[in-house]
Amino acid sequence: MKNFLWIRIAAFGACLIPFGQLLYNGYQGDLGANPIETITRFTGSWTLIILLVTLGVSPLRRISGWNELIKLRRMLGLFAFFYALLHFSTYIVLDHFFDFDRIAKDILKRPYVTVGFTGFVLMIPLAITSTAKMIRRLGKRWQQLHRLVYLVGIAGVIHFYWLVKSDIRRPAQYGAVLAVLLGYRLVKFLLPSSLPRFLSRGAKLNTTVE
């Protein structure tokens, strides 16, 4: 138990490294010729990466039988939201400098912005209901609500895929990881009895969080 506290602290620190790197490079004036683009891409990439890691927690827990892993999930999810918030703020403040007329048009007219914005908005209720109190209060509905994270993941990958000019290699890689993570859940859903037991090596599963 005590060891796991250290794992949580380490994971917390690890999630802050990209942010620290961004601040450090910003402070050094080392964000390249187009710093706004650099910040946008950097925060966007880390949103996706941490989101995928978050989505990996439950499958990993079931496969490994290491139930304590679930204690990392909320923190990871909130970090994904943190980077999404940075990404979104960069777009509003640095890229368009509060030009809300243009921003509104962009969101409505540009599919990659629409889908990215949708993903961000869907994360908000998840972040708000991430407290222990909300989990208790919402009970079963909490889990239903938090299945929205699957849509967030899909929106995030599509957002990336639609914005690249021709080189789809990187969004395709994110998409492949997402497909595995969601595919696992789909298989589990379709084969409710046999597969999870096989994959979980008989570990006892606790369906509530933490």
């Binding site: 601040l23 910003g26 402070y27 004036g29 080392d30 964000l31 390249g32 187009n34 710093p35 789809i168």
Partner: protein, 324 residues
């Protein structure tokens, strides 16, 4: 063809680092407010490193040109570290990193097709084909950013006139080097290619003959760095940047409109003409504004990238919304 000359450039205006530095300060101030975990971050700066440009050989005796803009130049560092040159990698910093692979000697440019005097030029002959001029042009990328770059080169028309096109020559196709060893971005990868290689581009004959269209062999008073398309590239300032093909090995005069790399890749997004046009959006993003590298706020994009007085007559009667 009526060609209006823009203002003379004052050499005293050339202060490349002005805006660039003020932006640095803005970002520094923004991040300094939050930086408290500084100590643990030492040594984490590797991600953003950009390769240094290979110091080019100096090019002397440059003529000034009345086609040059007097706008503030972008710094040599910006121009040589922020590049779209997929043959050297798809990220903006990749071409500078991979520039070392692109050796430019020996190099020949084959000029062929509908011409009376086809010829394969050695690159050193190209460099001496016409008096070198400095041309300070705006460059507007299709990705909605722009720069001001002091190219060195000569009018493309000088080459065209030497080889004497036949009456059948209606278009010119340009071809970039194909050599995966020297251009690592052309190496086959598991997830496919960014574009079909070699890169090809084209101009209509009257566009190619326009005095604004140049073959560039240098910038900032020096031989062109590899990441900017060495040893010879086009600079066609009223069109999106991808029209200005880099590292040219072939110039072919043809009768029919030639294929171009980006319109082969995504025909509904990139047309043959690709003139800078704030009213015709890219299907996925707006072209109404752009960010000048070094500026914080976006600026309005100008029709033909601000060269309308010189080039609009080329497109009289054409529906530029259809022929984008």
């Amino acid at each position: 063809m009526l060609i209006k000359k823009p203002n003379d450039i004052k050499s005293s205006e050339i202060t490349p680092r002005g805006l660039y530095m003020s932006r640095r300060q803005f970002i520094r101030a923004a991040s300094a407010t939050a930086i408290s975990a500084g100590a643990m971050l030492n040594g984490l700066d590797a991600t953003f490193n950009v390769g240094e440009a290979g110091a080019g050989e100096k090019l002397g005796n440059l003529k000034k040109s009345t086609y040059s803009t007097s706008e503030k130049l972008n710094s040599l560092k910006d121009i040589t570290s922020y590049n779209n040159f997929y043959e050297l990698g798809v990220d903006k910093g990749d071409p500078a990193q991979n520039a070392k692979y692109l050796t430019t000697r020996p190099w020949t440019v084959a000029v062929e097709g509908e011409v009376k005097k086809p010829k394969t030029y050695d690159i050193d002959a190209i460099m001496k084909l016409a008096p070198l001029e400095e041309r300070i042009y705006r460059l507007r990328c299709v990705e909605a950013w722009s720069m001001v770059i002091p190219w060195i080169g000569f009018p493309l028309s000088a080459l065209i006139n030497q080889v004497e096109p036949t009456g059948n020559a209606k278009f010119i196709q340009f071809v970039t080097l194909y050599d995966p060893k020297r251009m690592p971005g052309q190496q086959k990868s598991l997830f496919g290619n960014a574009l079909d290689w070699p890169y090809v581009e084209g101009l209509r004959m009257d566009e190619a003959m326009h005095p604004l269209a140049i073959l560039s062999v240098g910038l900032y008073g020096e031989v062109l760095p590899s990441q900017n398309g060495a040893p010879v590239r086009l600079a066609v300032p009223w069109k999106y940047g991808f029209k200005s093909i880099k590292s040219i090995v072939k110039v072919r005069f043809v009768e029919k409109q030639p294929a171009t790399a980006w319109s082969l890749q995504t025909p509904n997004e990139y047309g043959f003409y690709s003139n800078v046009n704030p009213e015709v959006d890219h299907p996925r993003w707006s072209q109404a504004t752009e960010r000048r590298i070094g500026d914080f706020l976006r600026r309005k994009t100008l029709m033909f990238n601000g060269y309308g007085e010189q080039v609009a007559s080329l497109y009289k009667g054409m529906d530029l919304k259809k022929l984008y």
